[in-house]
């Protein structure tokens, strides 16, 4: 590709301020657009709670700081860090299961006195890094042995997180690993075999699910079965989105949202608030920003100069997309309820920081490319 055989003209174009600051402007624009839209919707979803808005604003501030800082770390260093980060992550995940804090029925937190830390968040980045590291030096497409190795690398953290239990995060981590392997050139016949194995294992998976997880699946298949119980969330969010129509009911005018019918509307179900108040138009705007971010991320991956950065950038971008589609699919009733926030829009904690760290890596990859000698 043209990045490998670079020209002087291209070199010159890299000499902008973006390169010295390690910032990718299109990506930053997309992220900023999403953050602003997110704050606007959150103001309404939180019933004009300015305190809530300020907390989210501070969190975004922290996340953008992390973004800038991560962008300064060179991909080489990231590559060297990968096994260490992954190893520490596995140890912490094991620790969580042994001594972790329980909150909301799930054991996800490690309490270090001052800071409460969620190791699964760190794994969202450590797993794609590790898989990319593992596949970086081999000749692609990976052979059976490497595939097996990758599966083990993905499966260990995934299962540890499933055990917490945190189905949403484990899904993200498994898919981040999967996308790295897929981008590395996973053979189609292998993919077919894997698909068969997974569908065969589905009843087995059902067997291992917790009651509330099973209930979610049942509810997904038939939400009207228990409209005031487990089906309530999804019925109310469908009503919110559907009643929004094309143009929406207007900002702060969503009846479903403001009259308390919509549960968890600041967090996991914030997409329904957007759909109700801004209608299809608002959702299109949101997806315009999302598309910008995802496409730019994939583009960065295609422009990357080596296998590690390529796989990492591709995997991070695709994981971001999975985030989006799982949340919106859940809120519109296309997918079962899986506790995942709408990235950059939902009110909430560590996930925004992790996401921004991921985008920092993307920026780093794009802005640390070497000027190849001709």
């Amino acid at each position: 590709m043209n990045t490998i055989i670079s020209t002087n003209r291209e070199d010159a174009s890299r000499r902008g301020w973006q390169y010295s600051l390690h910032i990718d402007v299109p990506l930053l624009l997309g992220l900023t657009g999403l953050s602003i839209l997110g704050l606007v919707v959150l103001y309404s979803a939180g019933d004009k709670d300015t305190e809530l808005l300020m907390r989210q604003f501070m969190r975004l501030g922290l996340a953008y700081t992390v973004l800038i800082l991560t962008a300064q770390v060179s991909p080489r260093l990231l590559q060297r860090m990968a096994p260490w980060l992954f190893g520490i992550g596995i140890i912490l995940l094991t620790a969580v299961l042994l001594v972790g804090d329980t909150s909301g029925g799930a054991q996800r937190w490690l309490d270090f006195g001052i800071v409460r830390f969620q190791p699964s968040e760190m794994m969202k980045i450590a797993v794609p890094m590790m898989v990319a590291w593992y596949l970086a030096d081999i000749s692609l497409p990976p052979n059976w042995l490497h595939l097996l190795g990758s599966v083990v690398l993905i499966l260990i953290p995934t299962l540890l997180i499933v055990k917490q239990p945190d189905l949403g995060t484990s899904l993200l981590i498994a898919s981040s690993g999967f996308f790295a392997v897929f981008l590395a050139g996973l053979q189609w016949r292998v993919l077919t075999v894997m698909a068969i194995i997974v569908s065969a294992a589905a009843p087995l998976l059902w067997h291992f699910m917790r009651d509330y997880q099973r209930q979610r699946v049942i509810t997904f298949l038939n939400p009207e079965q228990d409209p005031l119980g487990s089906g309530y969330h999804i019925i109310q969010s469908k009503i919110a989105i559907g009643s929004g129509g094309i143009y929406g009911k207007g900002w702060l005018n969503g009846t479903q949202s403001h009259l308390d019918f919509l549960p968890e509307r600041s967090t996991d179900f914030i997409f329904a608030v957007l759909g109700e108040e801004f209608g299809l138009i608002g959702i299109l705007l949101l997806f315009a920003f999302y598309t910008l971010v995802v496409v730019r991320g994939i583009y960065i991956a295609t422009q990357a100069q080596d296998t590690f950065t390529r796989l990492l950038a591709g995997s991070l971008s695709m994981t971001f997309f999975v985030y989006i589609i799982v949340n919106t699919g859940m809120v519109t009733g296309l997918l079962p309820v899986v506790g995942l926030p709408l990235p950059l829009i939902s009110y909430g904690g560590t996930s925004i920081v992790t996401l921004m760290a991921g985008f920092g890596i993307l920026m780093s990859i794009h802005t640390h490319r070497k000027l190849l000698p001709t």
Partner: protein, 616 residues
């Protein structure tokens, strides 16, 4: 550049990556397409459906209960009103820890054990999302104190409403009645939509009889509500139609005087305007305060009322069935005259007892040594039993029944207060049907003096007395004078109806009986002469004594010796003024002893109040 020197085919890998990236982008686009088809379905195709659902969610139709009609007496004095009252409601669904909430509330407002037990009882029966009252009639101070602390109590709210109140308390309660909370049985009989916002329903008295008129028609408002059911704003409103106000025929001052006249005695008095059937006073003693019943009387208080040996809850005027005793004599006498079996001049001799031909049994006169020669006038004036034994026997039970039932004995007067009992006017047929026994002549004899099987209610006696005063036109007794729609000054009067017009064979017969009744009060030997001595108007009356305790034929009645409960009932019927009767009254004093000495003075107080103190 070590990477450049490996065996990796960079160009191939780069191409492979590119193709995979494109596949993924297509995959993403496909998923986004599916998502947008879904959104298109939700927001465009099924939009109307979801708008409806959202409105159903958000908009609730809440009933607005109508204001219950007020009840006044004939002079416009309030007997039943609606007072603003504050109620504390708890919605269990929104309360995390009920015990903690109740404990914390206790410091702010007063909560009794009874409040809690009633609350818990209702809580176990109602759905969790429904508000349940904990306390009624909060004081202004309690309302203010709660308002300050309100943030501490999610799910607890103060409801302003109207609560029924009876300003005169125990006065006239047996006529007015009271309202109470709607119970399960009543729910079956009422239109649930019209009562959807109402918590009270008439339980007894006029409140019950005129429930439909007093209640009004429910209104509705569309309100926007939260998922917790809290109303935010009103979208549209159909106002309720308030119930009609009622004006009763009662004169509350007369009522008060009549009630007080009984002192500690139990009994009943009914005063009727003979010209139109207006019930001017409707007394049953002892009485009780209806106000605690409105929001549910405490169990202990209710039990105390129920177990009170004087039975204050018992409506004696409407449901008390007493032997009329000698008060029946004027009616029997009139029957004899009208049937031609006797005339004012014909007399008999009273030796103090009466025997059936060829029988040994003596029917005693109350005067052991007898009245000597008596005619109708003296027989009524002095209440001679022997005269009426003889007359009754010559008439026979069939003719007694035939004539007396025109005066309403043995049947309901159909007054507009529910629950009336008919009394009993015995007949041959009645005895065969109920006792499966033939009629004995001895029973005819004692029927002639109002004893035996005969029973009548105070209301019946008053109505029958009014029929004499009104010369045979027995007016339908009525308690409601008029009704009035709210916002309309005009009154809609109740109908004045003739219940029965008694055929008069000879007006002289009527006047003979009426003269005798005047003699009872104003004659030298009248049994009620004590109340006639200083009366400024003429009264016609008749005393009566009803035996509670059966005496053997030779036994002498001695009030001192027998238990209060077994003492005779004292009765008195009267109307006045004689020349133009405006009031007829029947008084029964339970276990009071003599009609002339106990019942007649009470009647005199009632007559005085009505005739001498009438507002100009």
């Amino acid at each position: 550049m070590p990477r450049e020197l490996t065996l990796k085919d960079h160009l191939f890998e780069s191409r492979l990556f590119m193709s995979r990236a494109i596949i993924l982008l297509v995959f993403c686009a496909l998923l986004v397409l599916i998502l947008f088809s879904r959104l298109f379905y939700l927001q465009v195709i099924a939009h109307d459906h979801f708008i409806t659902l959202s409105d159903d969610n958000r908009v609730k139709i809440l009933p607005i209960p109508p204001t219950r009609g007020l009840i006044y007496d004939r002079n416009g004095i309030l007997l039943a009103e609606n007072l603003p009252s504050y109620r504390l409601d708890i919605t269990p669904e929104q309360v995390k820890d009920m015990q903690a909430t109740l404990d914390a509330l206790d410091g702010i407002i007063e909560i009794s054990e009874t409040d809690i037990s009633r609350f818990e009882k209702m809580r176990s029966r109602k759905p969790r999302f429904e508000a349940i009252p904990l306390r009624f009639h909060l004081s202004d101070e309690e309302v203010a104190r709660f308002a300050v602390n309100r943030h501490r109590f999610p799910g607890v709210e103060i409801q302003a409403g109207l609560s029924r109140h009876y300003p005169l308390g125990e006065r006239a309660v047996h006529a007015v009645g009271y309202v109470g909370r709607i119970n399960e049985r009543e729910l079956q009989t009422i239109s649930t939509s019209n009562y959807s916002g109402t918590s009270y329903i008439g339980k007894v008295g006029v409140e019950k009889t005129y429930e439909d008129i007093l209640h009004g028609t429910v209104g509705h408002q569309q309100v926007e509500i939260t998922a917790q059911g809290r109303a935010l704003r009103v979208l549209s409103r159909t106002p309720p139609i308030p119930g009609n106000n009622l004006y009763l025929t009662l004169d509350s001052r007369l009522q008060a005087v009549a009630e007080d006249a009984f002192g500690d005695f139990s009994g009943a008095a009914v005063a009727i305007d003979p010209r139109n059937g207006d019930v001017l006073a409707f007394v049953s003693r002892p009485t009780y305060d209806p106000n605690p019943f409105v929001n549910g009387i405490e169990v202990a208080d209710y039990r105390a009322l129920q177990q009170d040996k004087y039975q204050p809850l018992f409506n004696r005027a409407l449901r008390g069935q007493y032997p009329p005793g000698s008060t029946l004599k004027p009616f029997v006498g009139l029957a004899g005259l009208e049937m031609g079996l006797t005339n004012p001049g014909t007399g008999t001799y009273c030796p103090g007892y009466y025997t059936l031909p060829n029988r040994k049994r003596k029917f005693r006169d109350w005067k052991r040594w007898g009245h000597g020669p008596v005619d109708l006038n003296t027989a009524i004036t002095q209440s001679c039993d022997v005269y009426f034994y003889d007359l009754a026997l010559s008439m026979g039970i069939d003719r007694i029944y035939e004539y007396l039932h025109h005066f309403g004995f043995g049947e309901q007067t159909r007054i507009d207060i529910q629950g009336e009992l008919p009394g009993l006017l015995p007949s041959r047929e009645w005895k065969r049907r109920n006792r499966n026994e033939p009629w004995f002549p001895g029973e005819t004899i004692i029927t002639g003096i109002g004893q035996g099987f005969t029973l009548s209610t105070p209301l019946q006696l008053a109505s029958a007395t009014a029929a004499i005063a009104n010369l045979g036109n027995r007016m339908q007794p009525r308690i409601v004078l008029a009704r009035q729609a709210v916002g309309d000054d005009s009154l809609i009067p109740s109908l004045v109806e003739v219940s029965e017009t008694i055929t008069i064979q000879n007006p002289d017969n009527w006047h003979a009986v009426m003269d005798a009744m005047v003699n009872v009060v104003h004659g030298e030997r009248g049994t009620a002469r004590r109340i006639g001595e200083d009366a400024s108007y003429q009264i016609a009356g008749k005393t009566g004594t009803a035996q509670v305790f059966g005496l053997k034929e030779d036994e002498k009645y001695d009030a001192e010796k027998i238990d209060e409960k077994l003492r005779d009932h004292a009765l008195f019927i009267a109307y006045a003024p004689v020349e133009n009767p405006r009031i007829a009254v029947a008084v029964i004093v339970e276990n009071g002893g003599g009609g002339g000495s106990v019942a007649a003075p009470i009647a005199r107080i009632i007559l005085d109040q009505y005739l001498l103190d009438e507002p100009v």
